[in-house]
């Protein structure tokens, strides 16, 4: 760990939608070191997925990256030509999707699809690709992979397909895996298995991971650092310990209090929720996007957009947040 693998700066992505512009991603900046795991948390529509699709330039035609840079191994992903970005996709960065049920081509066997990218990125022969596919399926814990490579996707269960998709993303030994809510479509026991599998693979292969989720508790034990997104912006970023021990941004506080607690004494209260709904992203934000739902809001929040800044100037930490309010002081005063 140490060397910076991915450095995203001020990424802005817009959608054209019936004559208006939707500001889906509004100046997102983050970085990732080799072998590091970054959890990206936020509610639906806050720009998590669009940010990642922007990096790999897989956005739908209506969306466009307006500005920003994304240096991956010192090359800007956003300025690459089609051939270059194609080599990065699957070769250097693997993507795992949310819905394993629909992410496989029904007319090709699992083995074909898991090994496919090797044929293009590594110029492997079909036989070599199939052998590697068997190895990969064994690696992700599918039993009897020699037989299973010949199966079609419909013969795999949801959990097995998600394992196969992880195998597919790992095929070319990428430096980075972007997992876009990989466990959302799975039931809880399978979720836990997949999280364990990814942890195990990360430790064995040393691959960096960006894990997108709306479930804070899921990334708690998995991520080195956690980035909380709201309305297309990063509102807080900290190591996992710092975020859980010392959350600062009102939105993070809201998310944490909305988590079910497992300790008996805390179980008596009802789950908290954050009132209101996310802002309309068609307007260029000029105030704090969380302002209308924030219980700490100051007058200043209505007229100024807070920037992402280190929480404590002197402290040597990566804890950053975008808020004018010192929520610790205010909570203590209240």
């Amino acid at each position: 760990m140490g060397e910076i693998l991915l450095d995203v700066n001020d990424l802005k992505t817009r959608f054209r939608s019936r004559g208006s512009l939707v500001h889906a991603v509004n100046g997102v900046s983050f970085h990732l070191k080799r072998g590091e795991t970054l959890g990206v948390v936020g509610e639906s529509g806050c720009g998590k997925t669009v940010t990642m699709l922007s990096l790999l330039r897989l956005l739908p035609p209506a969306a466009q990256v307006e500005s920003g840079s994304a240096l991956f191994e010192e090359q800007d992903l956003l300025k690459m030509n089609f051939r270059q970005i194609q080599k990065v996709r699957g070769g250097k960065i693997g993507l795992i999707f949310q819905d394993p049920m629909t992410s496989f081509n029904p007319v090709l066997t699992i083995g074909d699809q898991v090994g496919e990218s090797l044929i293009y990125h590594r110029h492997a022969s079909k036989e070599v690709a199939l052998e590697r596919a068997i190895e990969l399926l064994r690696l992700v814990g599918i039993s009897d992979p020699e037989q299973r490579v010949k199966d079609y996707p419909h013969q795999f269960s949801g959990g097995m397909r998600q394992r196969a998709m992880i195998a597919m993303a790992l095929a070319c030994e990428p430096e980075l895996i972007i997992a876009d809510e990989p466990t959302t479509a799975l039931d809880v026991t399978i979720q836990a298995q997949i999280v364990e599998l990814v942890k195990d693979l990360r430790d064995r292969l040393g691959v960096a991971i960006i894990w997108i989720t709306h479930d804070l508790s899921l990334v708690a034990g998995l991520a080195d650092r956690i980035m909380v997104m709201y309305a297309g912006t990063v509102v807080e970023e900290a190591t996992a310990e710092e975020l859980f021990d010392d959350p600062r941004h009102p939105y993070t506080l809201g998310l944490l209090s909305a988590l079910p607690a497992f300790q008996a004494e805390k179980n008596v209260r009802r789950l908290a929720s954050i009132p209101g709904s996310p802002p309309d992203l068609r307007k260029q934000p000029t105030s704090c996007p969380f302002f209308p739902r924030c219980s700490f809001a100051l007058e200043r929040c209505q007229s100024e957009l807070p920037a992402l800044q280190p929480v404590a100037a002197g402290k040597n930490s990566s804890h950053r947040m975008a808020c004018f309010v010192d929520t610790r002081e205010r909570s203590a005063a209240a």
Binding site: L58, P61, Q86, G91, F97, T102, S103, E116, S117, H121
Partner: protein, 326 residues
């Protein structure tokens, strides 16, 4: 339920899943097709016709060109099952030989036009935008003309240059192949019908591709960095091709009809090569006195068209399990 029985159930269902053989969607569809009676009858009719088309010349009782003016325009008899025409030629032999022409033409037309349609449709549907606009504009322009009218125009205007080219080729190579006017006829008919028949395939595949390209597995394939050509040929076309196969079956029937229509009005394949179209034309002259001369080729043509359309229906049901009842 005791814990042990849950475990048993789980094991049992796992076993069942493993026993299930890998049935591809094509085999599955084929099984469904065989359950459709009309489709099976159509398949039998079509296979019989293909059989006669391939082995016809060695099966016909008489040569299709041998004239016997002593037995002109005879009704069906034991020697001549379907009678004889105005030159005393055996009608059954000519119908069988006509099947050869019709099958060859319609097969070539369907293969070529679906090929063009698949290429145009998949490019148009996958890339969208200006490419799509231009290609579909051209397709619509082509479809705006009635098929037969466009076919007639093309056949008439393509013949002189094609004839000149054949003549030149003969002079420079002295290969007698280029002197065969029947070959020129055949090639022209295939080209002309293909040029008017590819449009529905293109439109059909385009609409399918536009739906399939948004599926998750296509995004997944792009995220793996697979080349665009691979994505189109392995991820999109196999999942979009179903309706095109249905259209191909119906297209066999309509290509036969168009071929007959062109021959009927005398700008398709010319005598002495028998086609159902020119047989109908000849039969029409004396249909009040000798109706069998008209009925024999017309009924066979009708039967084939109906068979191909029922086969298309059957394929449609077999390839769209969601519409399939029962």
């Amino acid at each position: 339920m005791t814990p042990s029985s849950t475990v048993d159930l789980k094991l049992a269902s796992d076993g069942a899943a493993n026993d299930e053989k890998a049935i591809g969607i094509w085999k599955d569809s084929f099984n469904r097709l065989l359950k459709n009676k009309m489709a099976v009858v159509s398949i039998v009719v079509v296979l019989i016709m293909f059989f006669f088309a391939i082995f016809g010349p060695s099966l016909t009782p008489y040569d299709f060109l041998t004239q016997d003016l002593s037995i002109r325009s005879q009704p069906p008899s034991a020697e001549h099952w379907l009678g004889t025409d105005y030159l005393g030629r055996d009608v059954l032999s000519r119908v069988i030989y006509g099947a050869r022409t019709a099958t060859l033409v319609s097969f070539l037309v369907v293969v070529l036009s679906s090929l063009i349609g698949v290429v145009v449709g998949s490019i148009s549907g996958y890339f969208g935008g200006k490419v799509d606009f231009f290609l579909m504009w051209f397709t619509d322009l082509n479809m705006a003309f009635p098929n037969l009218v466009l076919g007639v125009v093309l056949a008439v205007s393509l013949r002189p240059p094609a004839g000149r080219w054949m003549e030149q080729m003969y002079l420079s190579t002295l290969n007698p192949v280029f002197r065969q006017s029947s070959l020129l006829d055949l090639a022209l008919v295939v080209v002309v019908i293909t040029l008017v028949a590819w449009c529905p395939y293109a439109r059909l595949l385009r609409s399918q591709v536009m739906a399939v390209r948004n599926y998750n597995y296509v995004l997944a394939a792009r995220a793996l960095g697979l080349p665009t050509f691979t994505i189109i040929t392995k991820y999109i076309i196999p999942n979009a091709i179903g309706p095109v196969i249905v259209q191909m079956s119906a297209g066999m029937g309509s290509a036969m009809l168009t071929e007959s229509a062109l021959s009927f009005i005398g700008i398709g394949i010319n005598p002495p090569i028998p086609t159902w179209g020119n047989m109908i034309n000849e039969g029409l002259r004396q249909w009040t006195s000798d109706p069998h001369l008209l009925l024999a080729p017309a009924l066979v043509l009708g039967l084939m068209t109906v068979a191909f359309s029922f086969l298309g229906d059957g394929l449609n049901d077999a390839l769209n399990p969601r519409q399939w009842k029962g």
